[in-house]
Symmetry: C2
Subunit: 534 residues, 2 copies
């Protein structure tokens, strides 16, 4: 698993404008060294932006005395809640043109306070942006427009406790504002884990995962947060929704599935009973090199269609493998891992390796045991994975355009889709910047019926115009995805940035139903306006 630090992340200072912890940011010299890899970038890094330089206005609304202690208008807090952590957010901060800074930031500590804040906001035309870890890369936590008198960022991170544990049924009642390490730290003493490790693990919350239908780190089986939900508690302007704790139910459409993926537009998820697991004791992993990407795709499909259920089954194309240090000879690399709390997994790894070899894979010797050092390609890839967003920001400071996007499609569409993304996105980036672009691809999640490709684009920018360049590149990407009937997002969510693709993809009768549900639950239309719906 990529990210399970032993200490909660709260103690280290978080960056208001860039990814993660400030002490992990690349230095100016490191930024320059990164920039040197992309000819055409700036000679020296853009300066780190300062809150003092931001256009922070007087709040457009004042909370009533009873709620005042929950709310701050502190500029640092407001700046840190102005945007998510997409490349376009980072660049806007670097260029001194951030999104609209919220007027106020509230940190409620219980459901009653959340409800009171919603009531006040509804009465006074104040937009409410639910905010977890703030790691959105799709414009999910910023306000755009001017239809509201003021904007309140509703920060849930003060609600971060594991309130109850049912060890018999392996479930835990967890508050939505718990960041990944914070909730895992409370489960660990019980030998349990939620086993949900998105790349943003350290900087995102349970509530954010639920509201955006986050994808975990694992490649197959139950990895999306949806499948771990036993019940949800959601504070809506129309009342509190609490579903029953049930292992399964066939009573009508699932209430929870309406709120999962609602991205803060229907209500504020404040807690959930989640299915947790015993910590895995048996692990084995290896990597397999392939000469041809296409044959590697076939190997992965065969493994995904077996019942071997690898925990990790990431396919890195040659560029991605090179970038992460998993291979230096132009190979496609498959990173394979198995985990179990029940029994040894070496047989399953051996069977998967056999399937990979039957499709031309050259496998390394498997590495067993949770604490044993993983094989070289596997470790290289893991470190690079966690470091990637920091490097992106370092390159952003060099004026480069570096961002990722992800999708999912059925196996029959994948080869042409991946080719088209490489070609068309590369061509758009070249046209927009005059520089050749790198477009790498990995598969992050695999299913019997398809897979989720994840693309990384890197190109020297057009200084001062990086946002427009990226928006052009992303528009080209969304267009390719649409033509190939690949989803606009596999696990990054819709937010505001994916609206053009989402609106075309969503069946119109479902849009009618969703709008009607929104009107019923949020009659004053204060909740995360512009996300999912107008």
């Amino acid at each position: 698993m990529p990210a399970a630090p032993s200490a909660p992340g709260a103690a280290r200072p978080r960056s208001w404008w860039g990814w993660g912890h400030t002490d992990a940011h690349p230095s100016d010299a490191e930024c320059a060294a990164l920039g040197a890899l992309l000819p055409g970038t700036l000679a020296r890094p853009l300066p780190i932006p300062r809150v003092a330089d931001l256009p922070i206005a007087r709040p457009g609304a004042t909370p009533p005395p009873a709620l005042a202690h929950l709310v701050t208008a502190d500029p640092g807090a407001r700046a840190a809640h102005a945007m998510g952590k997409a490349y376009r957010d980072v660049v806007r901060a670097l260029r001194g043109r951030p999104g609209r800074i919220p007027d106020l930031v509230a940190r409620p500590t219980d459901d009653r306070q959340v409800a009171d804040l919603l009531d006040w906001a509804g009465e006074h035309g104040v937009a409410v942006i639910p905010f977890g870890g703030g790691s959105s890369v799709v414009g999910g936590v910023e306000y755009r427009g001017d239809a509201h008198r003021a904007v309140l960022s509703l920060d849930l991170t003060a609600m971060d406790r594991v309130l109850e544990i049912d060890t018999l049924g392996r479930s835990a009642r967890i508050q939505a504002g718990a960041l990944g390490p914070v909730l895992e730290g409370q489960l660990r003493p019980h030998g349990l884990t939620l086993r949900h490790f998105p790349q943003s693990f350290e900087f995102s919350t349970l509530g954010g995962w639920l509201a955006t239908r986050a994808g975990g780190h694992y490649a197959t089986g139950h990895t999306r947060i949806d499948d771990f939900v036993q019940s949800l508690r959601v504070v809506t302007p129309a009342g509190v929704s609490t579903s029953w704790r049930l292992p399964a139910s066939g009573a009508g459409p699932s209430p929870d599935r309406l709120f999962l993926g609602s991205e803060g537009t229907l209500g504020v998820i404040t807690e959930a009973w989640m299915r947790v697991q015993e910590r895995p004791r048996f692990k084995a992993s290896t990597s397999v090199a392939f000469g041809e990407f296409q044959r590697a795709l076939e190997a992965v499909r065969t493994i995904a269609q077996s019942d071997l259920a690898p925990a990790n089954c990431r396919l890195l194309d040659p560029g991605e493998a090179l970038l992460s240090g998993a291979s230096h000879d132009g190979s496609t690399v498959l990173v394979l891992g198995f985990e179990s709390a029940t029994g040894p997994v070496d047989d399953r790894l051996a069977s998967a390796l056999e399937l990979a070899r039957a499709h031309g894979g050259r496998g390394e010797t498997p590495t067993a045991g949770g604490d044993a050092p993983a094989d070289t390609a596997v470790s290289a890839w893991r470190s690079a994975f966690l470091r990637m967003p920091y490097l992106r920001d370092g390159l952003a400071r060099m004026g480069a355009v570096v961002e990722t996007f992800e999708t999912a499609a059925t196996w029959d569409r994948l080869p042409a889709l991946i080719d088209a993304v490489r070609t068309e996105v590369g061509a758009t980036a070249l046209k927009a910047t005059g520089h050749p672009a790198t477009v790498n691809c990995r598969l992050t999640h695999v299913y019997p019926d398809g897979a989720a490709p994840y693309f990384t684009v890197a190109v020297a920018g057009r200084p001062g115009d990086e946002v427009r360049v990226w928006d052009d590149v992303k528009a080209a990407a969304v267009d390719v995805l649409h033509r190939h009937r690949a989803t606009v997002t596999h696990h990054h969510a819709v937010g505001r940035d994916h609206r053009p693709g989402y609106d075309r993809q969503r069946p119109e009768p479902f849009a009618l139903a969703l709008r009607a549900a929104k009107d019923a639950l949020d009659p004053h239309r204060i909740l995360n306006p512009g996300v999912l719906l107008d």
Copy 2:
């Protein structure tokens, strides 16, 4: 798997009033023999009801000429579409007091016709009851009330084709009106199977499974139909909803999950891309006897929380084991089975057996191979399983009250829940009839966080008053479930019969959202009125 007849069921005559094929109904003599097992039942079976005796009125509406060829007012067709196949439906037919007979039965052959029928019905205030195999046991396919000018039963079984198969991605585009054997018969030549085998398999359709979130036969893992859905096509009065074929997507709340479980109230599901599978080649099964039900529960929980993923893991309490012939010594019996298309499953069976023995189970020698004769308890249980609904109807003819209901709850609640159902439902049945009742329990589906108990109640009735007796018994059951926070239904759906429990269980904000979605998609409120919502 319990039910995969080689020939489609259509050739054999279906009963209009009782379960399944008429040629499989118990004879009068067999009914009498069954009745003799329950002292207090009638001396001779009630006569088989005749369509000619039904109060069939003139249709209250006439379809326009363009649709006339799709619609019939034939008394036999109308009688066969008047009700589902719950005990209370069978008894109402036997007692000559059926539910409201629909005015018309339509059999569209494509989406356009479905849309045209909905348009006509909307304009003329005609209620539309979507109808698949008609096997509802919760009043899901009958009309109650008088707010509509006429009632149209919309029979989808003329739309029963597998339209497309994607062998690479193991998916199939299937029309919603295909009965289980009809769709399996079209998949088999491709070596594929949907592997969804509810007890009603022969007499229910894909569309019915989707609309009611049917549970399959398998005990763990993906068994509910929801998880096999790649995309849905739904004809609503407000337009056709077609979701994209995707292995996964994080783009907003899942459109499909709103229609799954909507029970014909939001639209008519006309086709779906379904995830299909290779047919399993490796099988192994066995049974394990336990002296104590409570210890067996613990064994089952341990197996459910392992990653062994048994295909079958049914726990039969002593009464259930006796009834099905799986045991005659008062033991609790666990039926265990494993299946795979990838490799041998004997190790997994052995591991599960070991876990069962650690909790006091006495295991028989495992039986391997798909075609090898299964062990005695397993085969006995399988035959009894498929025969059960026929025997229920035989007993109904003897004036007995015999019906099942199912639920699901977390492990911590299960022992007290099962005890309370046995005690309170038994007491209510005794009070209502003056006869001692049998209340048996089996677990049909097991999850890491809980399980689905399935109860069978049998008691000599109060002649002529069977429906009221059953309604009293069921009300007591729903009350116990509610007090124990066990769902009103695990896989039988809500229909009209489960409304009292469902309305109390459903979170009120979700009810608001669902009502709003209903108003948006079905503005004339013609679709399955009274189901899920008023």
